[in-house]
Symmetry: C2
Subunit: 341 residues, 2 copies
């Protein structure tokens, strides 16, 4: 065992394995990469040497020779607090991890600021450190992602805001239809003055959900004037609810574009002494764990977040392997009725 200056073992190389197995480096490489043109007994001998030496291929060397990093980036243009605060992301990450499980790719998480990724992140993503990227929670106003998309294969979680993107691979739900369904549920249950708390206007999903609410309202002959924006955080849900109540004390329902904002809205409602759903019915969106962790289980529009994550991974893998693939995957939503409406 060779020790380097700091007393740590020097990693064995292909060369060492070749010597131990009495074959050439080429052959070892073939075995490591599962080439079929190697004699079975040689495969056995090489594998024995690999186990013996505890050989792990050097990724840098491999990726230099290969021009492949076997890494993909998960880019989330949100600050840490929002990323960690919303269980929706946890489910997306789980799905992606699961979708990548059987592949040789590793996932590298890059948190970027919502406005614009740091110089460091940009260099990382553009500097050939990953073979592809999954971008979740895309906001408008930054064309870095257009550049990224022109550089490596990218799959978006949620239809990206920029329609002029070079390519356009995404996994999404029909946000407008889902929101309309949630709103219709309130209408069907006799609510009249139905407000909405929308997500930020620079995110496509937020726009679509607001639009779905407005459409359902208009079709039912109700006014679609009661809209306030949040930013998908708990606190912003409460703030928007307060603003809504100030504008229309007699509202009797609210469709909220995310469960987390809905939880914030409910806590404000209760602070004001309003009963949920007695006085005000609340319908959320996501069906994340935030829907069931509050005092009042949330009636909400379910989107299959975990499967969406897995699907993003699969789509990117297909793109990377050059397979012809579906480029736009829209998954179904459904109503989940609990206690808040």
């Amino acid at each position: 065992m060779t020790l380097d200056l700091t007393g740590r073992r020097a990693a064995p190389t292909l060369e060492a394995v070749a010597a131990a197995a009495g074959v050439s480096r080429s052959t070892v490489s073939r075995v490591v990469n599962g080439s079929s043109h190697v004699r079975p007994d040689v495969v056995t001998a090489v594998n024995a040497a690999i186990d013996e030496l505890n050989y792990i291929p050097n990724r840098a060397a491999r990726s230099l020779a290969n021009r492949q990093t076997m890494a993909i980036a998960l880019v989330v243009p949100e600050d840490t607090n929002r990323f960690f605060g919303d269980p929706f992301f946890a489910e997306i990450v789980q799905g992606i991890t699961q979708g990548l499980e059987d592949s040789d790719y590793v996932l590298n998480l890059q948190l970027a600021s919502p406005s614009s990724p740091s110089e460091k992140t940009i260099r990382y993503l553009l500097g050939g450190n990953v073979d592809g990227a999954i971008v979740v929670s895309h906001h408008s106003g930054d064309d870095f992602f257009t550049t990224l998309d022109a550089t490596i294969p990218v799959v978006f979680g949620g239809r990206p805001y920029h329609p002029e993107l070079h390519r356009n691979n995404y996994v999404d739900v029909d946000n407008a239809a889902g929101a309309a369904m949630g709103t219709q549920y309130l209408i069907d249950h006799g609510r009249r003055r139905i407000a909405t708390i929308a997500g930020p206007a620079n995110m496509q999903a937020a726009i679509d959900r607001a639009e779905g609410w407005a459409t359902a309202m208009r079709e039912a002959g109700h006014p679609d004037d009661l809209l306030e924006y949040g930013d998908f955080t708990l606190a912003s849900g409460a703030a928007a609810m307060r603003a809504l109540l100030d504008r229309e004390p007699k509202l009797d329902a609210v469709f909220v574009a995310s469960d987390l904002m809905a939880a914030g809205a409910i806590s404000l409602l209760r602070d004001r002494g309003l009963a949920v759903p007695g006085d005000v019915a609340v319908v959320g969106f996501d069906d994340s764990s935030a829907a069931t962790s509050g005092e009042i289980p949330l009636t909400t529009v379910h989107q299959p977040s975990r499967e969406m994550g897995a699907e993003m991974a699969r789509m990117l893998l297909a793109l990377l392997s050059g397979e012809a693939t579906e480029r736009e995957r829209v998954m179904p939503t459904r109503m989940v009725v609990r206690a808040s409406a």
Copy 2:
């Protein structure tokens, strides 16, 4: 601009920059790496060529030549739900990110299972893909980390459970003293029957906090029999509270080893119609955002999570640059009094 088969631009190399600037590759390399032995006008010319071509060094090539990856791993042996569910981790991550900001290192997050990291994670960490690692939330019963620690520099968030580790670099608080302080606060405020909800018995911090509670109780002449274990999740806090109430319906206070578990305990208490702090006083640990997001602001033992994260980053950076460094950093806790006790 060269286009490859898929229509993506081929990245410019050192070679190309050298040609554009009319110098050798060696010189370009020196400029890129900030060597001082280059003539100023040459530096200018090279930088112009770099900007012109939009050159970004190939990390794989660099790290092969260098034997440095300029990447460090953040390893969290927890499942996704727990990692995302506890705001404590968000703060640690923020701190680490901040501590790494001015360095050239990128952070790669590796979620591992609490029992034992996957084959994939092991190969990643041991395969020379990162120069060092920060391990947060270490559990006993897995000696992979001993191997990791023998292979690359590692800093632990929280004193690791295994005392026989090769090296032992960590950032922590004095958990026992903090817990004793929280418990003493309850004693000083006249509580008699004080229970505790501990963290998992395979984590050093959990053990130390339970010990701190027990010590304070014994010193006050109170029995230290009312202990139930949780696993640092909200749900486990509620379950432990239920068990405690079953054992001792007349308990009047509980010291809980994390804010998230405390929030779970409080919700159970309220379900049972018990007033907090009227009937039962609750003291938490962490002072994470979970302390202030519930209905009842939590009185808790504050630990400087963000600074601890930053400190872990700094310590690892020092280790990587070979600087002699403090290897054990214990940061202060303090009482934060709010409404729950």
